[in-house]
Protein backbone atom coordinates (compact mmCIF):
# COMPACT_ATOMS: atom_id res chain seq x y z
CA UNK A 1 0.00 0.00 0.00
CA UNK A 2 1.38 3.37 -0.97
CA UNK A 3 2.11 5.69 1.92
CA UNK A 4 0.93 8.70 -0.06
CA UNK A 5 -2.81 8.92 0.33
CA UNK A 6 -3.54 12.51 -0.61
CA UNK A 7 -6.69 13.64 -2.37
CA UNK A 8 -7.36 16.69 -4.48
CA UNK A 9 -10.20 19.17 -4.58
CA UNK A 10 -10.24 21.68 -7.37
CA UNK A 11 -6.53 21.17 -8.02
CA UNK A 12 -5.54 21.53 -4.36
CA UNK A 13 -4.00 18.61 -2.53
CA UNK A 14 -5.01 17.61 0.98
CA UNK A 15 -3.55 14.96 3.26
CA UNK A 16 -6.03 15.33 6.10
CA UNK A 17 -9.46 13.98 5.27
CA UNK A 18 -11.15 15.72 8.15
CA UNK A 19 -12.49 19.20 7.43
CA UNK A 20 -13.70 21.05 10.51
CA UNK A 21 -16.03 23.95 11.16
CA UNK A 22 -15.29 27.03 13.23
CA UNK A 23 -18.79 27.67 14.59
CA UNK A 24 -20.25 27.46 18.09
CA UNK A 25 -17.03 27.24 20.09
CA UNK A 26 -17.12 28.68 23.58
CA UNK A 27 -14.07 30.82 22.75
CA UNK A 28 -11.43 31.30 20.08
CA UNK A 29 -8.52 29.68 22.01
CA UNK A 30 -10.53 26.44 22.36
CA UNK A 31 -11.40 26.57 18.67
CA UNK A 32 -7.76 27.01 17.72
CA UNK A 33 -6.64 24.07 19.89
CA UNK A 34 -9.41 21.87 18.46
CA UNK A 35 -8.50 22.75 14.87
CA UNK A 36 -4.86 21.88 15.53
CA UNK A 37 -5.82 18.64 17.30
CA UNK A 38 -8.05 17.62 14.38
CA UNK A 39 -5.16 17.86 11.93
CA UNK A 40 -7.52 19.57 9.47
CA UNK A 41 -5.99 21.40 6.52
CA UNK A 42 -9.25 23.11 5.63
CA UNK A 43 -11.81 24.86 7.86
CA UNK A 44 -15.22 26.25 7.06
CA UNK A 45 -16.15 29.85 7.81
CA UNK A 46 -19.39 31.81 7.47
CA UNK A 47 -19.95 35.29 6.05
CA UNK A 48 -21.89 37.80 8.11
CA UNK A 49 -22.43 41.53 8.42
CA UNK A 50 -19.61 43.20 10.33
CA UNK A 51 -20.84 44.38 13.71
CA UNK A 52 -20.11 48.09 13.41
CA UNK A 53 -20.61 48.58 17.15
CA UNK A 54 -18.09 45.91 18.11
CA UNK A 55 -15.04 47.16 16.25
CA UNK A 56 -11.73 46.03 17.63
CA UNK A 57 -13.04 42.61 18.61
CA UNK A 58 -10.56 39.88 17.85
CA UNK A 59 -11.21 38.55 14.39
CA UNK A 60 -11.80 34.90 13.67
CA UNK A 61 -8.94 34.74 11.18
CA UNK A 62 -6.45 35.73 13.86
CA UNK A 63 -7.11 32.33 15.46
CA UNK A 64 -6.96 30.18 12.35
CA UNK A 65 -3.46 28.98 11.40
CA UNK A 66 -2.39 30.81 8.23
CA UNK A 67 -1.48 27.67 6.29
CA UNK A 68 -5.04 26.30 6.41
CA UNK A 69 -7.42 26.62 3.47
CA UNK A 70 -10.58 28.57 4.23
CA UNK A 71 -13.82 27.13 2.94
CA UNK A 72 -16.47 29.88 3.03
CA UNK A 73 -20.03 28.59 3.38
CA UNK A 74 -23.47 29.94 2.60
CA UNK A 75 -25.06 28.98 5.90
CA UNK A 76 -28.27 30.88 6.45
CA UNK A 77 -29.12 31.07 2.75
CA UNK A 78 -32.51 29.74 1.65
CA UNK A 79 -32.39 30.63 -2.04
CA UNK A 80 -29.85 30.19 -4.83
CA UNK A 81 -29.66 33.96 -5.28
CA UNK A 82 -28.76 34.54 -1.62
CA UNK A 83 -26.07 31.87 -1.80
CA UNK A 84 -24.50 33.28 -4.98
CA UNK A 85 -24.55 36.79 -3.53
CA UNK A 86 -22.87 35.58 -0.32
CA UNK A 87 -20.11 33.74 -2.15
CA UNK A 88 -19.34 36.69 -4.41
CA UNK A 89 -18.63 38.58 -1.19
CA UNK A 90 -16.60 35.64 0.13
CA UNK A 91 -14.43 35.72 -2.97
CA UNK A 92 -13.77 39.40 -2.35
CA UNK A 93 -12.84 38.62 1.27
CA UNK A 94 -10.19 36.11 0.21
CA UNK A 95 -7.13 37.79 -1.09
CA UNK A 96 -5.68 35.89 -4.03
CA UNK A 97 -6.86 32.42 -4.92
CA UNK A 98 -8.01 31.49 -8.37
CA UNK A 99 -11.18 29.44 -8.54
CA UNK A 100 -11.81 29.65 -4.78
CA UNK A 101 -13.17 26.63 -2.97
CA UNK A 102 -16.62 27.30 -1.55
CA UNK A 103 -19.15 25.28 0.38
CA UNK A 104 -22.55 25.78 -1.18
CA UNK A 105 -25.38 25.25 1.28
CA UNK A 106 -28.96 26.21 0.48
CA UNK A 107 -31.39 25.07 3.13
CA UNK A 108 -35.10 24.40 2.76
CA UNK A 109 -36.40 25.28 6.21
CA UNK A 110 -35.23 26.15 9.69
CA UNK A 111 -36.70 23.18 11.49
CA UNK A 112 -35.04 20.33 9.60
CA UNK A 113 -32.15 22.35 8.15
CA UNK A 114 -32.35 19.92 5.24
CA UNK A 115 -30.86 21.13 1.97
CA UNK A 116 -33.05 22.39 -0.88
CA UNK A 117 -31.84 20.34 -3.83
CA UNK A 118 -33.48 22.44 -6.51
CA UNK A 119 -32.01 25.72 -5.29
CA UNK A 120 -28.65 24.09 -4.58
CA UNK A 121 -28.39 22.82 -8.15
CA UNK A 122 -29.43 26.20 -9.55
CA UNK A 123 -26.80 28.00 -7.45
CA UNK A 124 -24.15 25.39 -8.32
CA UNK A 125 -24.59 26.00 -12.05
CA UNK A 126 -24.29 29.76 -11.60
CA UNK A 127 -21.23 29.51 -9.33
CA UNK A 128 -19.41 27.07 -11.64
CA UNK A 129 -20.05 29.50 -14.50
CA UNK A 130 -18.50 32.28 -12.39
CA UNK A 131 -15.34 30.27 -11.77
CA UNK A 132 -15.90 29.00 -8.25
CA UNK A 133 -14.77 25.54 -7.14
CA UNK A 134 -18.08 24.37 -5.75
CA UNK A 135 -18.46 21.83 -2.95
CA UNK A 136 -22.21 21.44 -2.45
CA UNK A 137 -23.81 20.25 0.76
CA UNK A 138 -26.75 18.12 -0.35
CA UNK A 139 -29.15 15.37 0.58
CA UNK A 140 -28.00 11.77 0.28
CA UNK A 141 -29.85 11.40 -3.01
CA UNK A 142 -27.74 9.64 -5.66
CA UNK A 143 -29.68 11.29 -8.49
CA UNK A 144 -29.15 14.80 -7.14
CA UNK A 145 -25.47 14.03 -6.47
CA UNK A 146 -25.10 12.94 -10.10
CA UNK A 147 -26.73 16.15 -11.33
CA UNK A 148 -24.46 18.27 -9.12
CA UNK A 149 -21.43 16.45 -10.49
CA UNK A 150 -22.68 16.95 -14.06
CA UNK A 151 -23.11 20.65 -13.27
CA UNK A 152 -19.38 20.85 -12.64
CA UNK A 153 -19.11 20.61 -8.86
CA UNK A 154 -15.65 19.57 -7.64
CA UNK A 155 -17.11 17.24 -5.00
CA UNK A 156 -20.45 16.24 -3.58
CA UNK A 157 -21.13 16.53 0.13
CA UNK A 158 -24.17 14.44 1.10
CA UNK A 159 -25.38 14.61 4.66
CA UNK A 160 -25.06 11.68 7.03
CA UNK A 161 -27.97 13.09 9.07
CA UNK A 162 -29.42 16.60 9.67
CA UNK A 163 -27.00 19.38 10.62
CA UNK A 164 -26.08 19.29 14.28
CA UNK A 165 -28.17 16.17 14.93
CA UNK A 166 -25.28 13.88 15.82
CA UNK A 167 -27.28 10.91 14.54
CA UNK A 168 -24.42 9.47 12.49
CA UNK A 169 -24.77 7.90 9.07
CA UNK A 170 -28.51 7.19 8.69
CA UNK A 171 -28.54 5.73 5.19
CA UNK A 172 -25.41 3.81 4.28
CA UNK A 173 -27.15 2.27 1.25
CA UNK A 174 -27.75 5.67 -0.35
CA UNK A 175 -24.19 6.66 0.43
CA UNK A 176 -22.94 3.44 -1.19
CA UNK A 177 -24.84 4.24 -4.38
CA UNK A 178 -23.38 7.76 -4.39
CA UNK A 179 -19.88 6.35 -3.92
CA UNK A 180 -20.36 3.77 -6.66
CA UNK A 181 -21.22 6.37 -9.27
CA UNK A 182 -19.22 9.46 -8.23
CA UNK A 183 -16.15 10.50 -10.18
CA UNK A 184 -15.54 13.44 -7.85
CA UNK A 185 -14.66 13.15 -4.15
CA UNK A 186 -17.59 12.37 -1.84
CA UNK A 187 -17.43 14.16 1.50
CA UNK A 188 -19.95 13.38 4.21
CA UNK A 189 -21.06 16.71 5.61
CA UNK A 190 -23.30 16.88 8.69
CA UNK A 191 -24.65 14.28 11.03
CA UNK A 192 -21.48 12.97 12.63
CA UNK A 193 -21.96 12.61 16.39
CA UNK A 194 -18.88 10.86 17.65
CA UNK A 195 -15.61 9.31 16.50
CA UNK A 196 -17.05 5.96 15.41
CA UNK A 197 -19.32 7.79 12.94
CA UNK A 198 -16.17 9.11 11.27
CA UNK A 199 -14.72 5.62 11.02
CA UNK A 200 -17.97 4.14 9.64
CA UNK A 201 -18.07 6.69 6.81
CA UNK A 202 -14.37 6.47 6.02
CA UNK A 203 -14.49 2.65 5.93
CA UNK A 204 -17.06 2.93 3.14
CA UNK A 205 -14.58 4.87 1.06
CA UNK A 206 -15.69 8.46 1.32
CA UNK A 207 -12.93 10.93 0.50
CA UNK A 208 -13.46 13.02 3.59
CA UNK A 209 -15.68 14.31 6.36
CA UNK A 210 -16.88 17.73 7.42
CA UNK A 211 -17.58 18.08 11.14
CA UNK A 212 -18.44 21.06 13.29
CA UNK A 213 -21.00 20.62 16.07
CA UNK A 214 -19.78 17.18 17.14
CA UNK A 215 -16.42 18.75 18.00
CA UNK A 216 -17.37 22.26 19.14
CA UNK A 217 -20.30 20.94 21.19
CA UNK A 218 -18.40 18.11 22.87
CA UNK A 219 -17.64 18.52 26.58
CA UNK A 220 -13.96 18.52 25.65
CA UNK A 221 -13.71 19.76 22.06
CA UNK A 222 -9.95 19.28 21.85
CA UNK A 223 -10.16 15.65 22.96
CA UNK A 224 -13.03 15.00 20.53
CA UNK A 225 -11.06 16.59 17.69
CA UNK A 226 -8.20 14.23 18.48
CA UNK A 227 -10.55 11.23 18.62
CA UNK A 228 -12.05 12.16 15.26
CA UNK A 229 -8.65 12.64 13.66
CA UNK A 230 -7.69 9.12 14.76
CA UNK A 231 -11.04 7.62 13.74
CA UNK A 232 -10.87 9.27 10.33
CA UNK A 233 -7.37 7.92 9.78
CA UNK A 234 -8.32 4.48 11.10
CA UNK A 235 -11.40 4.33 8.89
CA UNK A 236 -9.45 5.40 5.85
CA UNK A 237 -6.75 2.84 6.49
CA UNK A 238 -9.33 0.08 6.96
CA UNK A 239 -10.96 1.05 3.66
CA UNK A 240 -7.64 0.89 1.86
CA UNK A 241 -6.76 -2.39 3.58
CA UNK A 242 -9.88 -4.03 2.13
CA UNK A 243 -12.18 -5.58 4.66
CA UNK A 244 -13.31 -9.23 4.63
CA UNK A 245 -16.74 -10.00 3.21
CA UNK A 246 -19.59 -10.23 5.69
CA UNK A 247 -20.77 -13.83 6.20
CA UNK A 248 -23.72 -15.13 8.14
CA UNK A 249 -21.98 -18.18 9.61
CA UNK A 250 -18.66 -18.77 11.37
CA UNK A 251 -15.39 -19.52 9.66
CA UNK A 252 -12.61 -20.99 11.81
CA UNK A 253 -9.44 -19.00 12.14
CA UNK A 254 -7.33 -21.92 13.49
CA UNK A 255 -6.51 -25.10 11.47
CA UNK A 256 -9.39 -27.57 11.36
CA UNK A 257 -7.01 -30.58 11.01
CA UNK A 258 -4.53 -32.08 13.51
CA UNK A 259 -6.69 -31.34 16.50
CA UNK A 260 -5.45 -33.23 19.62
CA UNK A 261 -7.22 -36.56 20.22
CA UNK A 262 -9.13 -36.52 16.90
Amino acid sequence: MSSDDAFTLGGRTFHSRLVVGTGKYRDFPTMQKAILASGAEMVTVAIRRLDLQAQGEASLLHWIPKELTLLPNTAGCYTADEAVRTLRLARELQIGGERPLVKLEVLADQKTLLPDGEETLRAAKQLVAEGFTVLPYCSDDPVLCRKLEEAGCAAVMPLGAPIGSGLGLRNPYSLQMILDQAKVPVIVDAGVGTASDCAVCMEMGVAGLLVNTAISGAQDPVAMATAMKLATEAGRLAFRAGRIPRKLYGSASSPVTGIVGK
Binding site: A46, L50, L70, R88, E92, L93, I95, N212
Partner: protein
Protein backbone atom coordinates in the same frame (compact mmCIF):
# COMPACT_ATOMS: atom_id res chain seq x y z
CA UNK B 1 -26.95 62.24 2.96
CA UNK B 2 -28.53 59.10 4.32
CA UNK B 3 -27.52 55.60 3.29
CA UNK B 4 -28.25 52.16 4.70
CA UNK B 5 -25.24 50.32 6.06
CA UNK B 6 -25.74 46.76 7.32
CA UNK B 7 -29.44 47.42 7.73
CA UNK B 8 -29.06 50.69 9.67
CA UNK B 9 -29.88 54.07 8.15
CA UNK B 10 -26.86 56.32 8.75
CA UNK B 11 -26.25 60.03 8.19
CA UNK B 12 -23.01 60.29 6.20
CA UNK B 13 -20.99 63.17 4.74
CA UNK B 14 -21.74 63.85 1.06
CA UNK B 15 -19.42 62.57 -1.66
CA UNK B 16 -17.95 59.72 0.35
CA UNK B 17 -16.09 56.93 -1.45
CA UNK B 18 -16.27 53.36 -0.17
CA UNK B 19 -12.73 53.75 1.20
CA UNK B 20 -13.83 56.97 2.97
CA UNK B 21 -16.84 55.17 4.43
CA UNK B 22 -14.70 52.40 5.88
CA UNK B 23 -12.37 54.96 7.43
CA UNK B 24 -15.38 56.92 8.74
CA UNK B 25 -16.67 53.76 10.41
CA UNK B 26 -13.23 52.74 11.69
CA UNK B 27 -13.20 49.57 9.64
CA UNK B 28 -9.98 48.04 8.27
CA UNK B 29 -10.59 47.40 4.58
CA UNK B 30 -8.49 44.23 4.42
CA UNK B 31 -10.83 42.52 6.86
CA UNK B 32 -14.08 43.16 5.01
CA UNK B 33 -15.87 42.89 1.69
CA UNK B 34 -18.32 45.56 0.57
CA UNK B 35 -21.44 45.30 -1.50
CA UNK B 36 -23.17 48.42 -2.87
CA UNK B 37 -26.77 48.09 -4.06
CA UNK B 38 -26.38 44.34 -4.49
CA UNK B 39 -23.05 44.31 -6.34
CA UNK B 40 -19.60 43.63 -4.88
CA UNK B 41 -17.26 46.62 -4.86
CA UNK B 42 -13.79 45.25 -5.61
CA UNK B 43 -11.17 46.34 -3.11
CA UNK B 44 -9.18 48.12 -5.83
CA UNK B 45 -12.23 50.28 -6.56
CA UNK B 46 -12.87 51.36 -2.95
CA UNK B 47 -11.18 54.77 -3.41
CA UNK B 48 -13.11 55.70 -6.56
CA UNK B 49 -16.55 54.19 -5.96
CA UNK B 50 -18.75 57.04 -4.68
CA UNK B 51 -21.68 56.49 -2.36
CA UNK B 52 -24.96 58.17 -3.27
CA UNK B 53 -27.89 59.09 -1.06
CA UNK B 54 -30.21 56.15 -0.58
CA UNK B 55 -27.55 53.53 -1.31
CA UNK B 56 -27.77 50.18 0.41
CA UNK B 57 -24.37 48.95 1.57
CA UNK B 58 -23.35 45.67 3.13
CA UNK B 59 -20.02 45.32 4.91
CA UNK B 60 -19.26 41.67 5.69
CA UNK B 61 -16.53 39.60 7.28
CA UNK B 62 -15.75 35.98 8.08
CA UNK B 63 -17.21 34.55 11.28
CA UNK B 64 -17.21 31.06 12.75
CA UNK B 65 -19.39 28.58 10.90
CA UNK B 66 -19.75 24.97 9.83
Amino acid sequence: MRATVNGDSLELPDGLSVADLLRHLGVRAERVAVERNGAVVKRARHPEERIAAGDVLEIVTFVGGG
